[in-house]
Amino acid sequence: MDSVTPFIVLSSILFTIGAIGVLTRRNAIVVFMCVELMLNACNLALVAFAHQYGNLDGQIAAFFVMVVAAAEVVVGLAIIMTIFRTRRSASVDDASLLKY
């Protein structure tokens, strides 16, 4: 257990930084980068646990997560691009027509 604990601690710190970033940053691109940081924190945890248990499940999962993250980038940047082109801004505060 001890050998992987530092990695898990690091991954939880990265995950927290990502989550706080999503909640506090205003630019959609930066928010999205913070989400990617959260996914990478997950990858680190998966690989560390896979090392602990000596199986490949976690490492394979990390590959899947990378593929999913890449797909998410494609969709996400497309959406952020269209918003930026119509509004000339990628700030998440500006997109506020829908409320209450």
Binding site: M1, I8, S11, F15, G18, A19, V22, A28, V31, F32, V35, M38, L39, A41, C42, A45, L46, A48, F49, A50, Q52, Y53, G54, N55, L56, D57, G58, I60, A61, F64, V65, V68, A71, E72, V75, G76, A78, I79, I80, T82, I83, R85, T86, R87, V92, A95, S96, L97, L98, K99
Partner: protein, 555 residues
């Protein structure tokens, strides 16, 4: 450490593979067919693919192996497929059937072209700026995105995979496969592009955020159990060998991801914005099918993987169910927009469904003639889906010069102008409210019964209060449609003697919306939905039995 190649059970998985295959063929159609042929080809291909998959689902149902336990007879049916990563069992097949049925309704609504005067409800060219020359050109040429059909098929494939997934990784991949196409479809509205794009942005950012939580939860539970398989996790929980903190935090984070998808409080914030901003046909599809898929996954995760840890997650679901029902019902009551009101009402329905989810008891405690928690939730989903698709389909019909008119003020007096459509809408709302003789009543009765039997009477008490509040706001819309006078403004102005009465009244009348005559695609969908709700209310037995025959999840 070696890789073993899993065997794929094509005989049981082929409905799923047909859906993904049709989606891929749809992408090829986009690449190789001339633009003018794509609409017909894509929509026919999508409907045919879904029908074949639906037939295949029924066939696979008859072929499932029965799993017997001595003294109890058949307790479940089904098999683990694709190297134990997929569990094709009774509940899975039931959910596949529901998802496929209502995604056919979704395709039919997508293909409606009469309402917009010859073009579909989707943007001519999503990349063109609203109000630009490129958009005007796309509009004059009558272009529209036929990519929505392959996107829909990928989403349907993800929705079928989601409740089938028997390990955390497959579940995560399914979650993304169903979500990513939905994010895109939300942003493709022809009218009100800014709202639509904003809905897509919000849905995407919050959805990606929540799937981050889901994945971290999966990583921690993997750290606890040393495996992603639900059976192994269940085994580890039963033995209680691992680090309990990892399990509890992981379970909580997994719950965040799933409760976000079903739209439970406190993760409901996206629901009203996305339901309102997305093209209404997409909202209809998404509201019904995502909920079916996500509740299927929620049930499997909590019943199969964390079934032995029930005492830890049941109190959490108590609190969330109570908050969800109350917040949904109260916020719906103060809305002035039909789509937004329906969105908050779907939040309230999530709460009612959670009441069924938390009504689970150990297998021995449930009598043979009682309905199980799983059965009640499956049945509630079967009553909720047609009512939702039907109401959103009717919302697409009520229009004024600017497209769909969703403000309450424009719906005033609709019942006097189009009694049939307003009557159907009113009936579906009554079913959502849970008035006897509608499907919604039987659904609510079943989830409340199982929760009572499991001793969750405080939750049921709140559920009844929330139901009463919800009757209030549903009936308010019905009163607005049938009993509010169109010409109030004229009368008041005439009484005050200001002389400008006629002018005001004319303006008012121009502003109120009217029902546009749809093609058979939309009207047929609405008719089938109303018929289903009537049938489920009058003779719920067959579907209730079908949900019961589905048996338990296999592990």
């Amino acid at each position: 450490m070696e890789f073993t190649k899993p065997t794929i059970e094509y005989a049981t998985l082929w409905p799923l593979l047909v859906v993904f295959g049709v989606a891929v063929v749809g992408v090829l159609f986009e690449a190789f067919l001339p633009r003018e042929r794509r609409f017909v080809a894509q929509s026919v291909l999508a409907v045919l693919g879904l029908l074949v998959a639906l037939g295949g689902t029924a066939y696979v149902w008859t072929q499932l192996d029965e799993i017997r336990v001595d003294g109890q007879g058949v307790v479940a049916r089904g098999e683990l497929a694709a190297g134990q990563t997929l569990a094709v069992d009774g509940p899975t097949i039931f959910l596949w059937g529901l998802v496929l049925l209502f995604s056919i309704a979704g395709v039919l609504l997508f293909a409606e072209r009469r309402l917009e005067g010859g073009v579909s409800t989707f943007a001519g060219q999503a990349a063109a700026l609203p109000g630009s020359e490129a958009e005007r050109e796309a509009s004059t040429r009558g272009l529209h995105h036929t990519e929505v059909y392959p996107l829909l098929m990928f989403a349907v494939g993800g929705m079928m995979l989601f409740p089938t997934a028997n390990d955390l990784l497959t579940m995560f991949v399914a979650l993304e496969v169903l979500s990513l196409p939905l994010y895109l479809m939300c942003g493709l509205a022809r009218r009100r592009r800014l709202l639509s794009q904003e809905a897509a942005l919000k849905y995407f950012l919050l959805g990606a955020f929540s799937s981050g939580f889901f994945l971290y939860g999966a990583a921690l539970v993997f750290g606890y159990a040393g495996s992603m398989q639900f059976a192994d996790i269940s085994e580890a929980v039963r033995n209680g060998t691992g680090n309990n903190a990892l399990l509890l935090i992981g379970m909580g984070l997994l719950a965040v991801g799933l409760l976000f998808k079903v739209g439970a409080v406190p993760f409901q914030a996206w629901t009203p914005d996305v339901y309102q901003g997305a093209p209404t046909a997409v909202t209809a599809f998404m509201a019904a099918c995502t909920k079916i898929a996500a509740f299927g996954a929620l049930l499997r995760l909590f019943y199969v993987a964390f079934g032995a840890e029930r005492w830890d997650w049941q109190p959490m679901l108590w609190v969330i169910a109570i908050l969800t029902m109350l917040a949904g019902a109260i916020l719906a009551a103060v809305q002035t927009d039909v789509k937004r009101m329906l969105a908050y009402s779907s939040v309230a329905h999530t709460g009612f469904l959670l009441v069924g989810v938390l009504g689970v008891r150990s297998a021995g405690a449930v009598g043979t003639d009682e309905i199980t928690a799983l059965q009640s939730v499956l049945f509630y989903l079967a009553t909720y889906a047609p009512a939702t698709v039907g109401t959103f389909a009717i919302v697409t019909l009520v229009r004024d010069a600017g497209g769909e008119a969703t403000a309450f003020s424009k719906w005033a007096g609709l019942g006097q102008r189009s009694p049939l459509v307003a009557g159907a809408f009113g009936f579906l709302l009554l079913s959502m409210a849970g008035i006897p003789l509608t499907g919604g009543f039987v659904g609510k009765w079943s989830v409340f019964t199982v929760a009572m039997a499991a001793g969750a009477w405080p939750v049921v008490l709140v559920a009844i209060v929330a139901s009463i509040i919800s009757v209030f706001f549903y009936v308010r819309v019905i009163l607005l449609m049938f009993f509010s006078d169109d010409d109030t403004s004229e009368v008041t102005d005439a009484e005050t003697g200001w002389g400008a009465g006629t002018v005001t009244a004319t303006l008012e009348r121009v502003e109120t919306a009217a029902v546009t005559k749809p093609s058979l695609l939309t009207s047929g969908t609405i008719a089938v939905c109303v018929l289903l709700v009537v049938l489920l209310g009058l003779v719920p037995g067959p579907i209730l039995d079908l949900a019961g025959d589905a048996g338990q999840f296999i592990r």
